[in-house]
Symmetry: none
Subunit: 205 residues, 4 copies
DNA sequence: AGCTAACCGAGACGGTACGTCTAGTCTTGCG
DNA sequence: CGCAAGACTAGACGTACCGTCTCGGTTAGCT
């Protein structure tokens, strides 16, 4: 068993005229491991191929650019964290910032990977394309958090959902990109308080 | 005469045991020109040296990394824009967003350069160091904008200056990094309105 | 046809996971041409790569050092010249000096290349290693020339083969390295006469 | 005192409009020390200037090339060894090989320096010029050794002085350049024996 | 059952850029 | 004017990756 196990690990080979999921997984695993162990500066297609014992063309066949691979690694993380509808605006805000943004990036590798994707997108148009589409969708989704609060009559109905979400996202990006995710807990509360103040229902009406 | 003129232009040489400002300027100019014409992906120390007709060691002598050079190019822009104290919180906010952030980046090359610096900082620790110090200083400076409004009694004295400034900066970074600076004018107004709402003095007290 | 022909010539590319003999040959040719046209001082890996339209790593992949490449160029020459057993000591001596050493180096490029290898070996240990091994083998081979004469009873059986060969080789190296190969013909005869005198059979016994 | 002492050591400075012998000596000493400690491959004008705390132009002003400096270092050694007229051909030969060539190079640094000069001369014409002139003069001088023996009637009057000296010099160069100076003592005796045999007076006449 | 098409690993290829080193020239300011 | 100092252009060094290519081998699915 060990022998076969080893030979499987060492040599994957083709499984015919279709994508080999074992190779795909080995490449994603290698990419993740390199990012974890050496950071973005040690991350290269060459290094991933070496570590995954894969040929470079195999990578280029399935991921058109470094950023596409990074984004794919990143999306592998997302499934775990929850983003539930708590029925309360403040709790939803806290959940969004904590589970989807700062807290999520903070633990483990996700933040590193996302920073890398953003950096890559600044010089690679196709990476930008992919990242912006992903980001746009996530913001659209998060805006429903505000809309639900408006629908419940919990906040000022004139609140601008898109702006509120982008303020939150911007804050989180800024923390991520300036290396200040750690110790953001108190500041998250201050941000929530600010947003709550900005969306409070006008008492005079 | 023309021949000599050309040879003078082509060959700068040393001016003794001290930095040659002509070389320094030629390098900054070349760096800017390359960023303008080819963008970040075409930007390399090699290309700058070639274009500036400078030796690579001359660049490495004065700028320890690609990012240091980028940041230097960026700071060459800053002198023009004003950031005055208007005596009015809303106008100050608008001025900050427009003259220091979004509007400033939008016109010309500045945005491109700043994006490049941010990207570089994600993989190069020394670039991160320089950018973060620069950024921290600018935020500290901008926080006085909020503090002045508090001192004037214009806004809620409990407003958190640091958070407000970082929300604005984060919003602007996010627009810059997702390529959405253009057409942000209406959104800038919405952001200002949100911040004003969040800092409105409590009428009940 | 010409266009395609040219493009074929210009771009060699890989032929799979093995050495491309066309590249190998192009590099050797370029190295030889540079030595011929510009001499050792113009010889650099960079220049060879440029001329051969090859990448530098392709050269470093197959030749660990400048000297290894030089030695390879040199050995490309050797095949032509003969070094036959004439059955006569004097003729063998003359053939050795003329065909293997002085005369061989004198004509064309060989002398230049060999001088370069020797020079390189004085500062590069791996070059020294290669040159000394090559040289040792050639001396061992040449000593058989003397041993045959001893076996035929043509010369004093007490003659020291190794010393005689090294005297000849040393003489030739000295001429090569002091730029005095030209016009050595008469001196070659004098050397032969000296060696013949030194190995003459003792008539008294 | 200590302060001044240190400043003297650290900073030599100019002594007015004439060559500073302290600088000259410091440069030669530094050159020798680098050759001793790091060998030829670590030897560069740059390194010498650094070690001697001298400006590069100071070196270039007085030594036109790397080889000129090397040769100057080499000639600094020569004064010690003797090369007397013993009145006996065999002893003169032994003295020449031992005191002037192999033995001399073998001990200490001299061999290394001389190898370096020879290597340099293979690519730098001015170095070649200087070395060849030096070498020619020394051979001319050594030929008198043979001529004296002829005059004494000690050897065959038909012996070719120039060839004999060049055979000896060639043998020594070859040993030096192939890194085989060590353990040459027995071989030196064999060379002497060979030369004696070649120059023995014809008993029949 | 044989053929073919696409996949796989491997690694060479021409290139570009890296950051360092040295060459040789130049200019300043001190002595 | 000699000298130390150190900046300057220029370009080679050897390394790391880039993205492309061809190879030989494997396997699945079509004929």
């Amino acid at each position: 068993m060990t022998a076969e196990d080893k030979s499987v690990a060492v040599r994957r080979g083709s499984i015919g005229a279709r994508r080999n999921p074992a190779s795909q997984q080995a490449i994603l695993d290698a990419a993740e491991a390199i990012l974890r162990e050496e950071g973005l500066s040690g991350f290269s297609i060459e290094a991933v191929a070496r570590r995954a014992r894969a040929g470079k063309p195999t990578i280029y066949r399935w991921w058109p650019s470094k950023a596409a691979l990074l984004l794919d690694v990143y999306q592998g993380f997302k499934n775990s964290r929850q983003f539930p509808d708590t029925g309360n605006f403040e709790k939803d805000l806290r959940g969004f910032l904590t589970n989807q943004l700062i807290g999520f990036w903070h633990d483990g590798l996700c933040g590193t990977v996302f920073r890398s994707v953003i950096a890559e997108a600044q010089s690679d148009p196709s990476a930008a394309e992919a990242l912006f589409a992903y980001e746009r969708a996530r913001r659209k989704f998060a805006e429903r958090l505000v809309d639900r609060a408006k629908a419940r009559g919990e906040i000022d109905p004139g609140s601008n959902s898109a702006i509120i979400i982008e303020l939150l996202a911007g804050f989180a990006w800024h923390r991520l990109l300036t290396g200040r995710l750690a110790g953001s807990d108190a500041d998250v509360e201050a941000v929530i308080a600010t947003i709550l103040a900005a969306t409070k229902k006008n008492p005079g009406t």
